[in-house]
Symmetry: C2
Amino acid sequence: MAQAPLTAPDAGVREVTRAIKNGALGVQINTNVAGMPLDHPAFEPFFAAMNKLNKPIWLHPARAGNFPDYLSEKKSKYEIWWTLGWSYETTAAMARLVFSGMLDKYPKLKIITHHSGGIAPMLEGRIGPGWDQIGARTSDEDLSMVLKSLKKRPLDYFKHDFYADTAVFGGVPATHAGLAFYDLDKIVFASDCPFDPERGTMYTRETLRILEGIDLPKADKEKIWHGNLEAITGVKFPS
Amino acid sequence: MAQAPLTAPDAGVREVTRAIKNGALGVQINTNVAGMPLDHPAFEPFFAAMNKLNKPIWLHPARAGNFPDYLSEKKSKYEIWWTLGWSYETTAAMARLVFSGMLDKYPKLKIITHHSGGIAPMLEGRIGPGWDQIGARTSDEDLSMVLKSLKKRPLDYFKHDFYADTAVFGGVPATHAGLAFYDLDKIVFASDCPFDPERGTMYTRETLRILEGIDLPKADKEKIWHGNLEAITGVKFPS
């Protein structure tokens, strides 16, 4: 895949177009661009181009220690920015694409969220009946038009319009939660190799072991291993 | 339960002592105190007192729209601060109590985290092997002593030293993830009634329905319904 240089949005569109013409399976972006959210108008040409190119976008978390966890502090402590923050920001980026209407406007976008979409599966109840009540908790701004502006219920975008990979560092509850939350056609294998404590293949081994142990038809597992990614990229991988 | 007024830490200790002497089952605190984390030295007398009083602390999320999700912004949009932020901050507060050594110093603390401890169950792989590598991602600060300062592996505190309630707004993946993550003796029933779209009993009904449908021995379910809370509070509830 190519890295889309969104800090220079116009050059970014040219670069991803060039890369995909030259064989890239898709492009990677981060969950923020120099601190800005993905629904900032500067990045709309990129999403419009990807909608037309019909190739996937890999969405990778990006937050550093300079993003504090408390209003009284200037930085995040104990690497909370990584452990919890990356997964938070992944789901926040999904939310911004949903509520800004980008997914309605560009329905062919294929966004592969890293780490099972962060915390979305765990928060199905909050994203579902919780966000169905958007506006009820806010008094300084009228959010009553947000739901009306969308084509469907917020939860439905999270569950059915995003792809999610299986790289959850050997987390068993997360693996099951991801399989329960997303459509099977939207789940793609990934492991985050080699960022495990061995700096080797531990996450690949563990992710394979957990998935192999789950009672799913062989055809469904084949989709997760390679079929779904082949369908998104339009490329048949050698077996 | 009583609300512990931690914004006035000394008065807070007196008030919770008074309330518990007068029959309160425990006290509630929030995941931040006027923007400050719970491991701020100002709040240590409270945790020391609760450790001595041997009654539970209910930990409730607290974050508002003035906590932005992106460095380029001044406030959170679309109520992301509630839907995702409350759960993020719950787990961040747990992390601060773990890494600051508060749980080692006050081992009798009984902290009941709301909403199944936020995002902890989903992030078992990040909290586990991910946080086992704390320091590897940080170059401007030496975090090598953090792990050495703790009595056990970070993940073990999250899994075995916190209590978690079942109030996940009818989220099926979250319910299963919570049951897989926490010790059964640490799970207590809660529903978040009446904050559902009906402003009534929907979350109670749904939470009961999901838990009833899970294949668990009757004795284990009795612990979740009331047994575990009776054990923590030392009070037998009328049946």
